[in-house]
């Protein structure tokens, strides 16, 4: 059975557990539902009715929330204040949402990589989430950085990631650059990324605690599968796989793990086929009109951009056109794979879609937005690439989101057919599986001229790794591993303007009349090339060696002009693979001066976030308590003293106690009982907990003894489930102790009436209905038994309530006594209830005609009857115990008070309430 490591105590638990069996911490992530509004306590003063209206998704996380917790100044409505401080720090929740994953991450080499935790958490979480949640997560990450327009969620999360990346240097940037993709990526990708070579797949947590066996990515609803799984596998999948595989290669050539992961890869085929309904539009278009003719899609794109918030960045507005490309290209790429090496024929017309050309304006804006800013901020030659790549990255996912949002409902009907069509187009005869598992095919690789480094790599890994296919994919990974791809650079180099830029500015840039020279040039170059730079599929971008970025922009362009791929997946694309010299110069990229401009405030916030998230991820050791505290010693001393005091008197039966005095209310009881005749029926409400049997049986037994001496017919009733059994027990005790033989008709156990006060009220008015049968349900006492002729409360000559509970006593007084019509009601009470009930005896009109209370009352009553019962036999021990308790409480109080008095003495002005 796979196990999950607890995030709190880091101990292993069976993976079906939701709560750690050692520290009770939640093991499985709780995933917020989409559109989670501000928790009610953000706007606590609202009525519950208004709650649903409160959408707090956009509430920025307020670190002050924590500050307020730490600060000790609490006002009386602190709760609401704390809560209204702002959104729950979801990133804090994130830290615990996927604890096992966090721990898994921790076990990885990069312990300090809190961002990796984040990413892996997300990638595990997202598949079960939908757009709003992604948006939320973006905000969660951005908010602590105090980004101005966080609430509009206009800043894509890749941006925030990029920012974080800057803090973590050795971090391969591809994943966070493809963050929008990971937002929607299927879990197998996440697993590929986050799974530790030494871990089984079984350790992957299942976000939703309820559904068990099914892996998350299968549980993921149509939306995810539609918009996430498919897009991901097409767009970001290759890009995602790369780092994982390389990490495998560099960690250990563990073929077993590779196979495991390959199986997962295989399994994703199903996932890719699953999507139902909610296909993003661009996919639908794709399925309707294969590949190129995206013009129909064009209005869609416009529509999207219109429906976007005005302040959404230009690339966002123009994005929708983009996602089609990778899909199309991948499908083509797959076809190429299938058709083998000699498929090096020129790219079919459809492979260079017209809309790519048609999209010029978009592309301009895409490259423009970043570039303008760069010009304004830091004029580095790389800026174009940054602009392109960075703009490239968020287009795809954001569009998917938008489209999914826009068209989920309306298009649901056609989607199935559309998708069926699409499936046919994309993966004929499960080529995808083939493609995914053995991509590219061995002989394909032969066909493609192997670069030197690839040969080296094959020599290095070839024999150890069983799966050739995977190995042969490795060139890309090798490439990536050694050299940060352009995106990485761009991603790391996301300048502040991308965060701080106001949307309006961005839009101005799109529609700006004056275009700087560089841009127009780049655009011309693009158009000359026929294939627009910005249209390189992301996975293809990932393959571009870092030198492409490092070198001057002009050179890069030249490079691109030089080489046209003849075969393989890149067939027909220009300058996407670097020339060999570049590759052979593989080395870690220098960290260029593309620095993230972080203000001190942002830095401190980021540090705080990092610290908090790390703390959250760490298992919190429980505060070690001293083996035995002084208070515990005091408790034991009290116990021992008490027990010794009592035992001494019980064992050595010394008459140290005098029989207590005889209270007037107790005398009233014996008087009333003395007036009873043998034909009189007495109702005994026996309503005490078995816990009090020590006291109540002592008191009750003696009064019951008196009743039996008078030969009264006794009927027991109780509002306490165990009451009837108590009655049986008490009768036995009295019979044995005082040699009575009360049984049969003399004793009727009416059992238990439920409903408390209501039950008593009902019993008072209609006793027959409430207790139709005796406790053992054998006979009906009302017609034949001792209660013949009794139909109402007042038919009882005397009612006696035996209880330890003042409330129960009051219930009987208030509900039953009025029905007694001046028939007496007497109380046999525990010492704890007496003070509250005594006024009912002393008061006028007198509602209780007599009281026997406590051990003292019982001892006095026994004395009155001339019996030595339970009370008198225990009276000595009891008295000594009470005395010991008094002394202990007094001494203990003084001992505990001294330090405080001392402290008070030292204080010049002692504080308010505590002031004596």
């Amino acid at each position: 059975m796979a196990e999950i490591r607890c995030p709190m105590c880091s101990r292993l638990n069976p993976d079906e557990l939701e709560i750690c069996q050692f520290c009770q911490a939640r093991l499985k992530p709780l995933i917020a539902k989409p559109n989670e509004p501000t928790p009610d306590w953000l706007n606590q003063t609202e009525d519950d009715e208004n709650l649903d209206d409160s959408t707090g998704v956009n509430q920025p996380v307020a670190p002050d929330w924590l500050r307020s917790l730490r600060s000790r100044e609490i006002s009386h409505d602190d709760l609401s204040e704390d809560q209204s401080m702002g959104d729950p720090p979801d990133w804090l929740r994130a830290g615990v949402d996927a604890p096992d994953l966090l721990s898994a991450q921790r076990r990885e080499s990069n312990d300090s990589d809190w961002l990796a935790d984040f990413r892996s958490r997300q990638s595990d979480e997202e598949p079960t989430e939908t757009e709003p949640v992604q948006q939320e997560i973006e905000e969660e990450k951005l908010a602590p950085l105090d980004v101005p327009d966080t609430t509009d969620a206009e800043i894509p999360d890749w941006l925030s990631n990029a920012r974080f990346d800057n803090d973590t240097v050795n971090e391969p940037a591809v994943p966070e650059l493809s963050q929008p993709d990971t937002d929607a990526e299927p879990e197998w990708l996440a697993r590929l990324r986050s799974v530790h070579p030494t871990e089984g797949v079984g350790q992957v947590p299942e976000p939703s605690a309820d559904k068990d066996e099914i892996p998350d990515w299968l549980k993921a609803d149509g939306q995810n599968l539609g918009s996430a799984a498919v897009d991901q596998s097409f767009e970001s999948a290759p890009e995602e796989e790369v780092p994982t595989w390389t990490s495998y290669f560099e960690k250990e050539g563990d073929s077993a793990d590779l196979v495991t992961d390959l199986n997962e890869l295989k399994s994703t085929e199903d996932e890719l086929l699953i999507p139902e309904g909610d296909l993003p539009d661009w996919l639908k278009d794709g399925s309707h009109q294969p590949g190129p003719n995206a013009e129909p899609g064009e209005p869609e794109i416009r529509k999207d951009s219109e429906q976007l918030p005005d302040d959404s960045p230009p690339w966002y507005a123009t994005a929708p056109g983009r996602p089609f490309k990778p899909t199309d290209q991948l499908s083509q790429w797959l076809r190429l794979e299938a058709s083998g090496p000699d498929s090096s024929e020129p790219i079919p017309a459809e492979e260079i879609p017209d809309w790519l050309k048609a999209d010029k304006e978009d592309l301009v804006t895409q490259s423009l937005t970043p570039k303008l800013e760069e010009l304004s901020i830091e004029s580095e030659p790389v800026s174009i690439d940054e602009g392109l790549s960075s703009s490239q990255f968020e287009k795809i996912p954001e569009t998917q989101l938008t489209d999914a949002e826009l068209h989920y409902d309306e298009d649901k009907a056609d989607l199935d057919d559309d998708f069926a069509l699409l499936e046919k187009k994309l993966f004929p005869d499960g080529e995808l599986e083939q493609a995914l598992v053995t991509t590219p095919e061995g002989d394909d690789l032969q066909a493609v001229d192997d670069p030197l480094w690839l040969v080296e790599l094959r020599q290095k890994m070839g024999d150890s790794v069983e799966d050739q296919g995977l190995l042969k994919v490795s060139p890309f990974s090798e490439d990536i591993e050694h050299e940060l791809p352009a995106e990485a650079m761009a991603g790391q180099a996301i300048p502040d303007w991308l965060i701080d830029v106001h949307a309006q500015e961005a839009i101005e840039h799109i529609t700006g009349d004056s275009e700087p020279l560089e841009i127009s040039q780049s655009f011309e170059r693009d158009s000359e090339n026929g294939l627009v730079q910005a249209d390189l599929p992301t996975w293809l971008e990932a393959m571009r060696p870092v030198e492409a970025v490092a070198a001057a922009a002009a050179d890069i362009m030249d490079e691109h002009d030089q080489s046209i791929e003849k075969a393989g997946p890149l067939v027909g694309l220009k300058g996407v693979l670097p020339a060999e010299p570049d590759v052979t110069l593989a080395h870690k990229p220098d960290s260029f001066g593309l620095k993230l401009q972080v203000s001190d405030m942002q830095r401190t916030r980021a540090d705080m976030l990092q610290e908090l998230v790390q703390n959250e991820a760490l298992a919190k050791p429980l505060p070690r308590k001293p083996a035995i505290s002084s208070q515990r010693i005091l408790q034991v001393v009290i116990a021992v003293t008490l027990i010794l005091a009592i035992l001494s008197t019980l064992i050595i039966d010394t008459p140290i106690a005098k029989v207590p005095g005889f209270p007037i209310e107790t005398g009233a009881v014996s008087e009333l009982i003395n007036n009873l005749s043998s034909s009189d029926r007495v109702l005994v409400a026996l309503d005490f907990q078995p816990a009090f049997s020590g006291e109540m049986e002592a008191i009750g037994a003696t009064v019951l003894d008196h009743l039996m001496l008078r030969g009264a017919q006794i009927a027991f009733i109780s509002t306490n489930p165990s009451g009837p059994l108590q009655a049986e027990r008490l009768v036995n005790i009295v019979n044995q102790r005082y040699d009575h033989s009360y049984a049969g008709e003399q004793i009727t156990n009416l059992g238990y009436i439920s409903g408390g006060r209501a039950g008593i009220l009902a019993f008072a008015s209609t006793p027959r209905q409430l207790a139709p049968l005796t406790f053992d349900s054998e006979n009906n006492p009302w017609d034949s038994g001792s209660l013949r002729g009794v139909s109402k409360a007042s038919d009882f000559a005397l009612t006696m309530v035996i209880t330890e509970n003042a409330d129960t006593a009051r219930m009987w007084i208030e509900q039953f006594q009025p029905e007694l019509e001046s028939k007496p009601l007497i109380m046999v009470l525990s010492a704890q209830a007496a003070p509250i009930i005594r006024p009912y005896y002393a008061g006028s009109p007198q509602q209780v005609q007599g009281i026997v209370s406590g051990m003292s009352g019982a001892a006095a009553y026994e004395n009155l009857l001339g019996r030595v019962g339970i009370a008198r036999s225990q009276w000595g021990a009891f008295s000594l115990g009470v005395l010991a308790a008094c002394i202990l409480i007094l001494l203990g109080g003084i001992i505990n008070a001294f330090p405080i008095i001392g402290a008070r003495m030292q204080k010049t002005n002692p504080g308010g309430d505590d002031q004596l």
Partner: protein
């Protein structure tokens, strides 16, 4: 029915009318300051600290039958449960409610469910968090001890009908070093809690918890109504005593 019942009816009527009036007034002018009750101030902090420390909050609802007067205190406890559940919804250990009566147990589950639904966090809900730990007073107390000792409880809120056995619960909290805030309708329980709880709620204070935890407009209104009716009762007692003394009424 006797005339005295008309008195009682008119008392109830007055109470009801005032409740409505105050609700309307508060809707217009919300702010009305309540005297400080340390327990509620501490509760606010306890919730925050529990969330931060990854500990659990435990709300003990007692065993008062809902179809009874004693049930009222349990229902107040449910209001506190609702507020606390929402407040601590970001905790990785959701609050747990224990009750000692069937209906109260059902209600605690319903309350938790609706609280989480209100903040769209249904996935936080698990019936196990609204559990019945025993069906008699002492078995309830006994069943609650393991919750306190094993569930990493940082604060226990006792709000409901208890008996003197409540000392077992507070002592267990003492042993695991967790805080207790406690109120009950039962006098014996109150007496015990006055000694054994860090933050006792005396008598009526428990019933004002809704207002102190901002549970809604009606809670504010009912606190104001209680304040007014309090003086009605006081006036009634003094006036009645005076009239009785001078023999006007028998």
């Amino acid at each position: 029915m006797s005339q005295i019942h008309l008195f009682e009816l008119s008392f109830a009527g007055l109470f009801f009318v005032l409740l409505i009036l105050f609700a309307l007034v508060i809707r217009k002018r919300p702010e009305k300051r309540l005297r400080e009750i340390p327990a509620f101030a501490h509760l606010g902090r306890s919730v925050g600290l529990a969330v931060e420390a990854g500990k659990r909050l435990h709300i003990a609802l007692g065993y008062g039958g809902v179809n009874d007067v004693q049930g009222a205190s349990g229902l107040v406890g449910l209001t506190m449960l609702q507020r606390i559940a929402r407040a601590a919804s970001i905790s990785d250990r959701p609050p747990i409610a224990s009750s000692g009566e069937g209906t109260l147990g059902i209600l605690s589950q319903d309350t938790l469910k609706s609280s989480y639904q209100a903040i769209r966090s249904e996935n936080l809900y698990d019936p196990i968090y609204g559990q019945i730990s025993g069906l008699t007073p002492f078995s309830y107390a006994a069943g609650t001890l393991p919750i306190i000792m094993d569930q990493q409880v940082s604060t226990t809120v006792l709000a409901g009908h208890f008996g003197s056995e409540v000392a077992l619960i507070t002592d267990a909290n003492e042993r695991v070093g967790s805080q207790t805030m406690a109120g009950s309708d039962n006098l014996e329980a109150q007496a015990v809690l006055y000694v054994s709880s860090q933050d006792p709620l005396i008598g009526e204070e428990l019933y004002a918890s809704g207002a102190y935890l901002n549970a809604g407009l009606m809670h504010q209104a009912s606190v104001r109504t209680q304040d007014v009716m309090r003086w009605v009762v006081i006036a009634g007692i003094l006036l009645g005593g005076l009239l009785k003394l001078i023999g006007v009424i028998e």
